[in-house]
Symmetry: C2
Subunit: 286 residues, 2 copies
């Protein structure tokens, strides 16, 4: 089978990953972004948006489980969940593993991502079939401002904070998120790489700290996002004493478990170290 290199073109990372792919299975532009699917021996199918890898069949579970299950296990009985972004459906799939969930609303601005995932990643998109799932294609920030629904968990599963996802990391957006959470609701959001984006992480954390009484930072070492030490910011509308899970793991997770949850929270020394290094060019110390 002929092979060729797909090299990422990621304006938000100081490194690009390249993959020797067998073929391109799909390529289409929406009004928002360019969606492609490649086939790779090791990773299986790869979904890219604007030439940045969003998921691979092989390792997608790691990101989706960590984004969904850490906040969901901080709530004793979550009934309603909102996902902003996440058009591939992986986070939705994980949310629906919680038997208490009655309704999961997913708002992705781009219908093309959802269609592509249903067609090429049926095991990721499986949750779209659920009668508990409600899907709308619109601006997530607008939905949140206008909805009268209240949620136990709000998850931000966005692309990098450039392009369509830029409005999803402002202080106004976090205020709106807090306003649609139930009194002990949880908020979680992917916040990029500790290695590369500590300035962005600290900015998001500062904004969240003005809106929520409890705030945490956890991370997971993903294979296919540049900078791999991937961070998630979590916040709680009620004050929490610790970020340890409040109930047993739901079944059928592949990597999430109580030990993974506890170990994922980033020690202060690590945060300080990456804050000290910064996110700009390397400066040699004398």
């Amino acid at each position: 089978m002929p092979k060729f290199w797909f090299a990422e073109s990621d304006p938000f990372a100081p490194i690009n990953y390249r993959y020797k792919v067998n073929k391109r299975l799909f390529s289409k532009k929406s009004p928002y972004q360019h969606v492609k699917v490649f086939e790779h021996d090791f990773f299986g199918r790869i979904l890219t948006i604007d030439d940045v890898v969003q998921l691979t069949e092989r390792d997608e579970f790691f990101y989706h489980e960590m984004l969904a299950h850490v906040p969901l296990h901080m709530h004793p009985a979550p009934k309603k969940a909102l996902i902003i972004g996440g058009g591939d459906g992986g986070t939705l799939r994980e949310v629906l593993r919680h038997p208490t969930i009655e309704k999961a609303v997913l708002i992705d601005i781009d219908a093309l991502v959802i269609e592509t995932s249903k067609r090429f990643f049926p095991q990721v998109a499986v949750g779209f079939k659920s009668p508990k799932a409600t899907v709308l294609n619109m601006d997530g920030a607008k939905y949140m401002r206008e909805t009268s629904e209240r949620f136990d968990v709000v998850l931000i599963d966005s692309t990098d904070p450039v392009g369509p996802a830029k409005t999803l990391s402002t202080q106004d957006f976090f205020k709106t998120a807090a306003s649609i959470l139930t009194p002990n609701g949880l908020f979680a959001m992917q916040t990029e790489s500790l290695h590369y984006h500590m300035a962005f992480i600290n900015q998001v954390q500062a904004y969240l700290g003005k809106v929520f009484p409890s705030l945490g930072l956890y991370a997971a070492p993903l294979a296919t996002y540049a900078g791999n030490y991937w961070s998630f910011s979590i916040a709680s509308k009620a004050k929490v004493k610790s970020w340890n899970p409040v109930r047993s793991s739901v079944p059928k997770t592949r990597i999430y478990c109580e030990e993974v949850h506890r170990n994922a929270f980033v020690p202060q020394k690590v945060r300080d170290c990456f804050t000290d290094i910064g996110s700009g060019p390397y400066r040699r110390k004398p």
Copy 2:
């Protein structure tokens, strides 16, 4: 300044990283390998061996601290340490932070790596100046078979297990390592990526388990090694009850601390997950 792409050529990874570098500062072949140094805005200087990144100025401390300090903090008062490989000097630098260390022996087969590090990475190579350091350029396995010295800690800081480093992951090699350890000595070794090399990790762990009574696996999310969720196998000549550190952190570590040490040990569920996925091509489940 003109920029060009340096793309890794890594036969041991299913992905290559590429870096937009400012210039190549150095390129020379030894009898063993091809050593190069590049300059990069974000990562600072980058050392490559056979076109695989070995370290960058920006993030090298993460790997070196995790390889050295986890085993060294499992020993109440380490006096003698042996490093096999590690010609850049980063692991040696970290070993020498422990005030109990009286002698640190570093065996790297390739003098060119040491010379290059001294010239281009003086802050990494700083330990070579120490009167406690003894450096020999010879085959590490041969040194270990022939030495009459006994060590409290043996650290294997090797390149990927292809080429010169291939002999450093055999059962015979581990038997020799055990034979030169003091009765409560510790052994640690970098064992590649959990995402990509779980078959290799499991093989090393099986070999180590036949030689040592206690065996652990810890990991760190590095920025610039392909597969980033980087594993370290640790083994103790005396049976240990837990892998928690036995004393306080030495000063001046940048990222290592007791919490990082404890969180780094890989939960069984994670090991099982990556073992189940395997290290071969992706197989879609029905």
